[in-house]
């Protein structure tokens, strides 16, 4: 149904960013507190707009921007992650004296970019959304401008990110040449008619695939991830671990679904994706084994998880992929929230050795970080286990047993470094005088929400499973 209501959630988010920037001009730099609350209010309004649009199928711009159920679920995930990131930031922005208005405005703009990406089926609009998301992210990564690591992160993110954007545009040009269309379904329809895909089409798909592999950090296009995750302000890292992944995989889902799946076993698309998935799972897991910094460890873990999600794509289990994204959102954002709690005024204490003995000193922090680590490692009955189970069982059903076996074996290896976090928290004597910042109720709320999500998705995911199935049914 064509209706301008399709633009409502997007409009709410963008106007929030603008309002915050305007208010900063009026109130001055020192007004940090209200900015976060304003962002929260608008985000809640955006979420409400999404809920009201469920099953309505609003579309605008000639159907190029549509709020079908799939988009709504994805937007919901994006909104939820941003909401939690804002809650994490409330104190963090103050402690580390970040420019508050810029931080929240950029976060909201990045979110808007992600929302455009997931709700469009036109490659051009997707590119537009991707650029909004990416450019805002580059600045977010470098917002600690006195910290050289943050500057390094921004520079790396920008260079590699813009390279991948160039790949994307170039690939789109090839696809347009091959199919005379920029719409995903148009491209797919034109190309499915051909018995043999021409060189142009393969070049186009290849370049687009490379670009998105950059965005969701599949090996060998993952080089930027650890440095950016480490250098960026921790709440921004939490955002990077969730939002670009959701958006990137959303586009991949749409492309693959339009093509009718990755094709026959042994076909080129399956071979390429399987190769990427295997490499990503292996490299992400093995590299994480050697990390001594919590953020870098979580960065490699997020790479490994992108590999598992790719297995889900290969198995054509799009509902499973959505479920996994939701599960990862809670575990990933939760883990980074715990990392943010460790930040002091002068520095971020994120070496694993800094965690020594903290589990007993700060029980809630310890429990939640442990639960997130166990869930990331895939221990039942937590969300991560059910996510992996869904994806691997679809893989087995599609005859991709080797991929599933590699997946479970890498998750065993990953248990080692996730348990290392817990070893540091509980099984080492406290090394020094690590005391956390003062009371931070907003962050505790995030930890609690994520804990709830991890247990809910693991033990009683009935409603959420139904939701993602409805969302994937339209494909």
């Amino acid at each position: 149904m064509t209706s301008a209501l399709a633009l409502l959630p997007l409009a709410v988010v963008i106007s929030a960013a603008l309002v915050i920037l305007l208010l900063e001009a009026v109130w001055g730099k020192s007004a940090r507190k209200p900015m976060g609350s304003i962002a929260l209010v608008f985000l809640a309004a955006g979420a409400l707009a999404c809920i009201k649009s469920w099953n309505k199928g609003y579309a605008y711009f000639g159907g190029r921007l549509s709020l079908d159920n799939l988009s709504l679920v994805l937007i919901g995930l994006l909104l939820l992650s941003t909401l939690m990131v804002v809650l994490i930031s409330l104190k963090y922005v103050e402690i580390r004296s970040l420019p508050a208005a810029e931080f929240y405005a950029l976060l909201l703009l990045a979110l808007a970019g992600g929302m455009v990406m997931v709700s469009s089926s036109s490659l051009l609009i997707i590119f537009l959304g991707l650029e909004i998301l990416s450019v805002s992210s580059y600045v977010l990564a470098g917002l600690h401008f006195r910290d050289p690591k943050s500057a390094e992160a921004a520079a790396k993110y920008f260079l590699l990110g813009s390279l991948s954007s160039a790949f994307l545009v170039f690939g789109m040009a090839w696809l347009y040449g091959a199919s005379r269309s920029l719409d995903i379904s148009g491209v797919a329809a034109a190309l499915r008619g051909d018995a043999e895909l021409g060189l142009e089409a393969w070049a186009g798909f290849g370049l687009v695939a490379v670009a998105f592999a950059f965005k969701v950090a599949l090996v060998p296009f993952h080089m930027w991830t650890p440095d950016v995750y480490e250098g960026a302000p921790t709440p921004a890292t939490a955002f990077f671990s969730a939002a670009p992944k959701v958006a990137g995989f959303a586009v991949l889902i749409r492309v693959l679904a339009a093509l009718g799946g990755p094709g026959d076993r042994g076909g080129p698309l399956v071979l390429v994706l399987s190769g990427l998935a295997v490499l990503t799972m292996l490299v992400g897991t093995l590299a994480a084994l050697r990390q001594s910094n919590l953020k870098r460890l979580l960065a490699y873990s997020s790479i490994a998880h992108a590999g598992y999600i790719t297995v889900g794509l290969l198995a054509e289990d799009y509902a499973g992929v959505l479920f996994y994204l939701a599960a990862y959102l809670f575990m990933g954002v939760g883990a980074f929230a715990a990392a943010a709690a460790l930040s002091g005024e002068d520095q971020e204490r994120l070496e694993l050795d800094d965690l020594a003995g903290l589990g007993f000193k700060y029980p809630w922090l310890g429990i939640s970080l442990s639960v997130f680590a166990l869930s990331l490692a895939g221990f039942p009955p937590l969300a991560g286990f059910l996510g992996k189970f869904t994806i691997f069982s679809s893989a087995v059903r599609q005859g991709l047993v080797p991929l599933a076996v590699i997946g479970v074996l890498t998750s065993v290896v990953s248990v080692f470094f996730y348990l290392k976090i817990i070893v540091c928290l509980y099984m080492r004597e406290p090394s020094g005088e690590v005391t956390l910042a003062q009371e931070n109720p907003a962050l505790l709320l995030v930890l609690f929400l994520c804990l709830l999500g991890v247990f809910q998705l693991g033990l009683n995911p009935g409603n959420i499973l139904a939701l993602v199935r409805m969302a994937a049914a339209g494909l």
């Binding site: 189970f389 069982s393 087995v396 509980y426 099984m427 994937a472």
Partner: protein
């Protein structure tokens, strides 16, 4: 059906753990009391189950079943003669270890009790699950509390030991998860139904080749747990580093989960594969018997001696399990209980010695029987039970085991009886050095004899040792029907799948035709 007895048994400890979690840590005595009460409640429920258990049928009893996640992932519990003894053993030992750690664990008591109780829930869930998904959830979830118990309250090399324990166990079990998914897929292909139910999979006709692969995956998971030689290397580390409570539970209960896995899943699901691999499996069991026994002979540390004796004893149990006849299976089940009692008691005793002297090396002791006569008597009984002295429980179990093995292969029975000989050698030798002879260490003279609380831990075990040694018939009778049923299932070859009509809401609307759609979307959502 009246009260859901099985669920109550499984979740009473968890409820206790949650209660403890929300109480202040300063009131350690209250916390211990609650933990003891919760575990005793579980034991009481298990006794009720034992009394109400109908020994005339091989079917599962007290069955509870409900929808959980859909796609055949149900909450499905049941008890039969194979799990009954293990449930009783587990629920008996948990209150005992809580009692035994009353003074030895002073640090972080609250967490300690929470992990122990969560572990109990996990263990009971493993023994009672009839749905393979549920089984896997308990099987894996149970690792987490054990990981913490060894890692926080363990000895000097605890972190190494606990990581080794978790990683070894997980390698096997994730492959079992893939195998479970393959079974699920095979069942779906054959019938169009979704199920993770053991009973359904038993009717599945699997080609011998596939059986071999699946059995390899299941078998690896269980063999690590048992542990079968050469997968045992985690066990001495974990046992030596674990706190007393952890060692007791590990030896007495967790190792039994491996053997139970073979009896409940591995052998009935893949009988052809077991028959084909029988020489290998028997050979590995035998290697474990001899290797564990020889290693135990040369240990300097009492705890690792008992740990290696477990490898040896579990080897005999597995030999009896793989003999796949009535006597062997009943003997294995009985011997699992016996081994749980005797090794559990030995670990408790080592723990009591350690509490007094803070050493576990044999050479630091000597002549203890003069200063601690009562303790020494308890020690001797438990030791002789482990060594298989007639009149005590170990003899009854080992006799049945060897009898069963004898019926399938005489030479194996002869070699298997080495367990008993070696056990007598290393246990009596250790007893001689530790308890008898002259006092070599002055400190030994100051040790006080067994306390009332310590005796309270050991008395129930010793009573059971005599009961099971002198008159095991009542316990065996509860197993008879189930063991015959199990053997009938295991004896079938190339089972034929029956397309059984199920309750209509589980039938698919249409068989899978389109390749594009993921199968998830095909089942209507009932929630």
């Amino acid at each position: 059906m009246n009260a859901p007895l099985l669920s109550l048994t499984v979740f009473v400890p968890l409820a206790g753990a949650l209660l403890i979690l929300f109480l202040p840590r300063e009131r350690a005595a209250v916390l211990r009391g609650i933990a003891l009460a919760a575990s005793l409640a579980a034991f009481g429920l298990a006794v009720v189950l034992y009394l109400r258990f109908d020994s005339g049928t091989a079917a599962f009893q007290f069955v509870e079943r409900g929808r959980w996640l859909g796609f055949g992932i149900d909450y499905h519990l049941g008890l039969d003669g194979i799990s009954l003894g293990l449930v009783l053993l587990s629920t008996l030992l948990f209150p005992i270890v809580i009692l035994s750690s009353w003074t030895s664990v002073q640090d972080k008591v609250k967490e300690f009790l929470v992990f122990l109780l969560v572990l109990e829930t996990g263990v009971l869930g493993v023994f009672l699950s009839l749905n393979l998904f549920l089984f896997y959830v308990f099987w894996e979830a149970m690792l987490v509390p054990m990981y913490f118990l060894i890692g926080i309250w363990g000895g000097a090399r605890r972190v190494y030991a606990t990581l080794k324990f978790v990683l070894f166990t997980m390698v096997g079990s994730v492959l079992m998860l893939v195998a479970i998914i393959v079974l699920f897929t095979a069942y779906h292909r054959a019938t169009g139904l979704y199920s993770f139910d053991l009973a359904d999979y038993l009717r599945l006709g699997l080609s011998p080749g596939l059986q071999l692969w699946l059995f390899a995956a299941f078998g690896l998971a269980f063999a690590v747990k048992v542990p079968l030689f050469p997968l045992h290397t985690w066990l001495p580390d974990a046992h030596v580093e674990a706190p007393t409570a952890g060692s007791v539970i590990l030896a007495a209960v967790l190792l039994k989960m491996g053997a139970y896995g073979f009896l409940r899943f591995g052998i009935p699901l893949f009988p052809d594969a077991v028959r084909k691999l029988w020489p290998v499996l028997a050979g590995l069991s035998l290697a474990g018997i001899i290797y564990g026994g020889l290693m135990a002979l040369v240990q300097k540390d009492i705890k690792s001696l008992v740990a290696y004796s477990s490898v040896s004893h579990m080897g005999l149990i597995m030999l009896a399990v793989f003999s796949m006849n009535f006597e062997g299976t009943e003997g294995a089940l009985l011997q699992m209980i016996n081994h749980g009692l005797s090794t559990g008691a030995l670990f408790l005793i080592v723990g009591m010695l350690y509490e007094r002297s803070h050493t576990r090396l044999i050479r630091d002791y000597g002549g203890l029987s003069r200063t601690m006569p009562v303790f020494s008597a308890f020690f001797l009984v438990c030791l002789l039970s482990s060594a298989g002295l007639p009149g005590l429980n170990g003899f009854a179990g080992e006799f049945l085991c060897l009898f069963g093995v004898f019926r399938s292969s005489r030479i194996l029975a002869v070699l298997g009886s080495l367990t008993v000989i070696l056990a007598a050698a290393y246990l009596l030798n250790m007893f001689r050095k530790v308890m008898q002879g002259p006092v070599t260490n002055e400190r030994v003279l100051r040790f006080r004899d067994i306390t009332f609380r310590e005796a309270a831990c050991l008395v129930p075990i010793v009573v059971l040792m005599f009961w099971l040694g002198l008159y095991p018939r009542p316990v065996l009778r509860k197993m008879d029907a189930s063991v015959s049923g199990y053997l009938r299932t295991a004896a079938r070859s190339s089972p034929i799948l029956v397309k059984a009509p199920r309750s209509p809401d589980r039938l698919l609307p249409s068989p899978r035709t389109e390749k594009r759609k993921p199968p998830e979307t095909e089942e209507p959502v009932h929630d």
